[in-house]
Subunit: 649 residues, 3 copies
């Protein structure tokens, strides 16, 4: 890895401590610190009064110890003087309450006032720090998303929303038509009547509200990027994204205009299959490039126990193997005060290196030594692409169906079958070039982007295999269902028509007061075994396809549930169930991989990762117990959280 680092707060610990810290960092193998994302009030303690001395000194001292710096713009935490003098800079939540000082991300991302102050501090920072050679990268803001404080509903946002809608739809007549206002006749007759959606409003209005907020917040990030790039074009400028990767900002669009994909990944929040998926996602944002983990736990509170020291190492190697090029620990030292004081740093409160320091130091020093010879290995080969469309994610968030047909859960469950087989995947946007892949997976792609439709056809014509699951091509770009039968634009590709669908859950049975889901029993025509479907099942009409699986249940008996259509060279498989049981979906994945000629690595215990990169294979045991595996024709015995790098594949 190029960078092993930590988040550092010289504004908190004071200038007199920097040299001591830099020395300890260096001893721990650290060569990057991230600085400044919350330091606005210490950079500009009063309106127009700037104090950068402490920061210059810190950056210099770090540089003297061979440590480079990722500087941050401090916009997540406006100073008290700013929000008190300019309340219009504060976000107003859906209930109309203006947020107040003392937290973070409480700013309005459309406020012109806020942009003016942000511009001044960012431009100043950029100008001031252009001369430091060891400032190599920038993080804009901190974890910009629409989750932590929600969408802003201030009157300025309302007005901007109207402007945005006007430029999108031109007229109110078109807006009414696109939003499908005919049910409950919520028709708008004057632009002033139009406002951002609250939770109980119609899906298309909610979707556009999310899109608007997404664009405006992304724009707030990108406007800062331009300011920085104007100062020095060679800086690597990005932002650190966190949280709900399916439901926050459109990360594809954002990273497209930034230099490196950066992720805050606390490995103990999710199980390892999800972590691996997230790393594959970040690997995909900038094709051919490595990603950075800009925050990871030194030892957490709130999310989980402090990492087993061996576990930190396993996670570090997993990140490296997946294509990580930076691993930045949050945070250097546990803070004594303030919010998030429970998030533990590498150093104790006392500033003394303890367990966490030692575990991280050991792992970092080993990585520095090893990565010299391993860093130039080719990235993992990904012959499989999952299509992830943020409009689809926003749509599931915007409709009542989102709780019944959980998009993220279904996506993750399907991806897990590839993780279990040690098949690496890419997560690509609907506009992606599909030519690098042999298998393309479409999970719950309820909207079909026209570019994607075209590319899928070319892809299959060229011999590719497509595997779609769940709701497919049923909604238009405004999240409205379509009058024609699905899968929209893909009817010929799959050789089926989707007439509608059935929700398979049941809150109430006739004989009992509460019941869980009602699975359908299915049996495969050919090789595949019986299984069950849940959540939702498309009402299929086979046109020009082979039926792999039919419903056995007496009501819908004989109706197709899984189909495939072969072309000269390619294949399009459609499983109409939003969720199949793991065993059955596993068999389908095996089948699709086989047809696509993608090799899986099976016979490996779960949560042992096998990742090939050129001539080497990384084997990482994420389990608390030793395991024996056979990889690259070698028998390996890995201890708990053990890591091995073997030659061959």
């Amino acid at each position: 890895m190029k960078y092993l680092g930590c988040a550092y707060y010289p504004e908190y610990w004071g200038p007199e401590r920097v040299a001591t810290d830099a020395k300890l960092m260096r001893a721990a193998g650290i060569n990057l610190t991230r600085i400044g994302e919350f330091a606005w009030a210490r950079m500009e303690p009063a309106d127009g009064t700037f104090t950068f001395d402490w920061l210059h000194a810190a950056v210099d001292t770090l540089g003297e110890h061979g440590i480079e710096v990722m500087l941050c713009t401090p916009t997540p935490t406006p100073p008290a003087w700013l929000t008190f003098a300019h309340p219009d800079t504060l976000l107003v939540n859906a209930d109309g309450r203006r947020l107040d000082h003392g937290s973070r991300r409480h700013y309005c991302y459309t406020s012109e006032t806020y942009r003016r102050f942000s511009k001044r501090i960012v431009a100043k920072l950029a100008a001031e720090f252009a001369r430091h050679r060891n400032v190599v990268a920038w993080q804009i803001d901190n974890e910009p998303d629409l989750i932590e404080t929600g969408i802003c509903h201030c009157e300025n946002c309302q007005q901007e929303f109207r402007t945005w809608l006007k430029s999108r739809y031109g007229s109110l007549a078109e807006l009414n038509q696109r939003w499908g206002t005919g049910f409950w006749t919520v028709d708008y007759s004057d632009w002033q009547q139009v406002r951002l959606a609250r939770a109980n409003h119609a899906p298309s209005r909610q979707l556009d509200s999310r899109r608007f907020a997404n664009e405006k917040l992304s724009d707030f990030v990108l406007f800062q990027s331009e300011l920085l790039k104007q100062q020095r074009a060679d800086w690597r400028v990005s932002t650190n994204l966190n949280g709900e990767v399916f439901t926050s900002l459109d990360y594809f669009k954002l990273f497209d205009r930034l230099d490196v994909a950066c992720k805050d990944l606390y490995f103990d929040i999710c199980t390892m299959d999800v972590n691996a998926m997230i790393m594959e996602q970040f690997r995909s944002f900038k094709p051919g490039q490595k990603y950075w983990v800009t925050e990871t736990g030194a030892g957490m509170c709130g999310c989980g126990r402090p990492a087993h020291p061996g576990q930190f190492r396993a996670w570090l190697w997993s990140s490296f193997a997946h294509g990580g090029d930076a691993h930045v620990v949050f945070r250097w030292r546990t803070c004594l005060s303030g919010q998030e004081q429970e998030l533990e740093g590498m150093l104790e409160h006392s500033g003394v290196p303890g367990h966490r320091y030692k575990a991280i130091q050991k792992a970092f020093l080993e990585m520095r030594e090893q990565s010299a010879k391993l860093r130039d290995l080719p990235l993992p080969e990904t012959a499989v692409a999952f299509v992830h469309d943020y409009d689809v994610a926003f749509t599931y968030q915007s409709t009542g169906i989102g709780t019944l047909v959980p998009y993220e859960k279904n996506f993750t469950a399907l991806h897990r079958e590839f993780y279990r087989r040690n098949v690496r995947t890419a997560l690509v946007p609907p506009t992606a070039d599909l030519s690098p892949y042999r298998l393309v997976v479409l999970p719950s792609l309820v909207m079909i982007n026209p570019t994607l439709a075209e590319r899928l056809k070319e892809f299959v014509a060229g011999g590719g295999v497509v595997f779609a699951q769940g709701q497919l091509g049923l909604r238009d770009a405004n999240a409205n269902y379509m009058r024609h039968r699905g899968p929209d634009q893909l009817q010929d590709l799959f050789g089926v028509l989707i007439n509608g669908g059935m929700y398979l859950h049941s809150c109430v049975g006739v004989d009992e007061t509460s019941a869980s889901r009602t699975p359908f029993t299915v049996k495969l025509a050919g090789k595949l075994a019986r299984g069950t479907a849940a959540v939702w099942l498309g009402d299929l009409e086979a046109q020009d396809c082979r039926v792999l699986l039919k419903v056995q249940e007496d009501t819908y008996a004989g109706q197709p549930a899984i189909t495939e259509k072969k072309t000269d060279k390619g294949l399009a498989i459609y499983s109409a169930a939003a969720k199949l049981d793991d065993r059955l979906v596993g068999k389908l994945v095996d089948y699709a991989l086989g047809k696509a000629g993608v090799a899986a690595v099976k016979g490996i215990p779960e949560h042992v990762e096998v990742i090939r990169r050129g001539t080497r294979t990384f084997v990482i045991n994420h389990r608390a117990k030793p395991v024996q595996v056979k990889v690259a024709k070698k028998r390996l015995r890995l201890p708990a959280y053990g890591v091995a790098v073997v030659s061959g594949s």
Copy 2:
């Protein structure tokens, strides 16, 4: 059934589609559509500009296909222009937030402005459509209740509430006395101090707030009824009630002034015993008349799975057998956009008939054929009446006791024992004529209406059997407990005094940190077996009665728990426990039925309904499995969801 129908939205699907739809409807056996309940903005797109052409055309086209129309007044969804120009028409919730455009039922039912606009549109509609012969019925508003958006707390409502209280109580002194303001001395000394209750306020204040809102919203419905009747007296005018039948509006009073009892009944929300109870309730609102199901699921989302096609038929026949004369499916076609888009129609999004259409078509056509010969059968005989008093329901909602002594749950559990025995019941108001019945059941009747008291005495004197359970006659008309011992006005009838009562639940035991309810063990003096009591047990003093059951538990050992008092011809049974175990309450029900000479149909599996109507007996299997039953001396084998109509009883 006279009407087999569906909800239809020509304002949504457009005029060009109506003929196609009408044809498909006709083919499905449909002869009624419900139209217009949300179409205000398409009827009056701007203040005073009316556009009824599309609606005239739709009604005409439907008429040409032999389909009649239930028109609706569109007041649940005021147009955007109206609420924006007149914010005083918007409901203000308990937290003081004025609701906003984009939902439904967000209007204030006391607003004079809203009434003015409502009057204009309703009068216009009535005048415009008086000439259409196939407009046969009207629905006012849509599902008026106090649940969906809650009680309005705007300043106009506050003022109206004061006026209402003044006319009810005359003086503040009387108000203070009636509301029992002496505890915490919340005494009012000026009318301006009086406001509608919020959730944490005193029970009597809450009860009057509910009564006030109930009256005002009912009045809003009835004022529309008058407008319509002024136009044509032969229209059948009503409204469709939904939701919480125990806790919403006083349906008895409302239907008393409307032409037909209409219920939105989605059969998959509750188990069949509750559905049957609700149908019996609606059968009871207009004695001697049939009820209408104005909405029922074509295939749901949110509440349950799409009906098994056979299950739709079973529900249809159950509704018919209980006395339904209309069965209107919600909705003709699944909407493409807007709220509730997950509620599936008979047609798919595509407009193509699919599974749901076919299942409903089959059931409807069969019904049309059969009901010709069955429609004139007498209604089911109901020798048993449950007294349901909305003041009691509102009282349980208004007091902390409502969660400890769940009125609706206890009522339903008691009624279930009659359902299990295929004994049909009526649900009657406290002012009902009791002479048609042989057994009258009083579940948790904590307030005794004076009329009821008189009629019960006559009823028993005339040979009737009364069976009361739980809290009985302990509160006055303001939900205050009474100084004298219960059961108020009925001490002589039952020959007991209720000194007070004991709450049988226990949050905390002495030996464990949490415990569930603490049942008392009881043993019957005579024939009945042991059992347990729960929730609440009255502290009884036997006066002039026979004790059927005594408490066995050592503390209260020997205290009466179930008593009966015989008169010359009649009998009054009182079970002092709010809840007995099913087996024991079943034995009591058998006992009471036996004494009343009401025949039960036993030996039938649960959820198989046996309903007698004159010379025919309907047998409906609501189970997913075939059953064998013996009915009217015939052995029947019914498949899953099977229906049979046999001669004899």
Copy 3:
């Protein structure tokens, strides 16, 4: 006991009923009534109009029946006319909503207006009732706490908070430093920016907000005390504290300036171990004095089932044995109306004596007879003191850690081991004189008061045993962690350094999606057995101590977990785990008791209390079943809820 009493509401029941009630009270052994805490509107029905006649009459009538009176100031429930004319007297909650009339405790405790009106009514009451000989005590307000309605956030409180902070810290610079505003740089640059904390704000800001509110509300109580004492110095003046003893007001400071410790203790809310701890706490507030139970259930609703009649007696005797000198039942008669109408009184609604009256009467008459000879016994000997610091309690409330390291739960669990051994304890403030004790327990004392540090050193030097558990001496007085290693000020006493700590819970395992706590396995060096730790484990460095227990788990293997340091005469034991399993903590408690020479009474079934007072030993069976115990060399057989007083110890 000196007083056996009940809460009485003559303003509710009317003057004509008082004589009847007084007679019935007297017959039940009652010699004290508590009167007036909610009666403001009946004492002052209009601004400046006072009506005390009814109260004079009631007090006189009670006096004639030999019943003394604890009068109350009526400030929890301001009259409607007051809050309507002066809205600034109403509390504003954290969301900015001003509370409204119809509830209680809805006043702002910093409002000058409210204080003016309160002063007038309290001074009037005191002057009016100074002449009644049977008015012997006063209760101020009712259950003052910061829980029921929360902290007030009105603009007056905001201004007062700033004033309070200024006087505490002098300058904004100091405030910023004390609050540790450097993380997220929430620095204040103008006093107007400073406001009371809401839930998501930084811990030090939350802590000071709680301290401020605590001081202001306490001051509101004490200002009333002065008014009363000015009238008659011989009155026993106090207030009745309830609810969350760990999280409400600083009861030590409050009772220090009042005459008697009064507790509202509903025995069926908690299990008996917690009740016993609470009684020991109230015994400790006024050293050497007896406490009063100012409210206890006659038979509850909401909290639990009505007491088994024998159980009321067991609780009464337990209270007596622990040092109670008054036992006041809430309430004389169940109210007919208003809030809390579900709380049952001794009399039924009807005013007729029923089950509850009879059970209480029996217990009270027995107590009156017995207590003549038992009342002068010395109080229970307490050789063990638990240090309880409200700043620590407020700190756990103010930080995210409070949910992970539950202070109250851990405190209670540790105390339970003493209860199980029938070892009586005192709960003392950090400033207490420790010389009366042989063992001092420090549960989760994350802040160390300097006085305590000094006294602990003297105590151990004098031969005392200290036993500390969990987080110890890690935070400064502003709830900030300290730069130096813990335990602050006590490093030498314990001979250890605490470098930091580990959170042992784990939300997420690697092999499963959710996991519970991750216990460490430990083994005792010497006599003690294996066990597990949970929640949090200090990262210890042994300096000058003996290690009793080491961590066995491979990661932290060999690290000390429990240590002791012997001095010439004393001993300091530190268990670094916030929570150990019951068996292990029991062994530690045995060990500490042994070293301190404190005798335990073992071999007694759980929830059978053995309490020694001089020459007598009280044995109380809180179980629903008979038990056999050997106490004071006698074999006793106690029935369910049985009580025995035996000679000897």
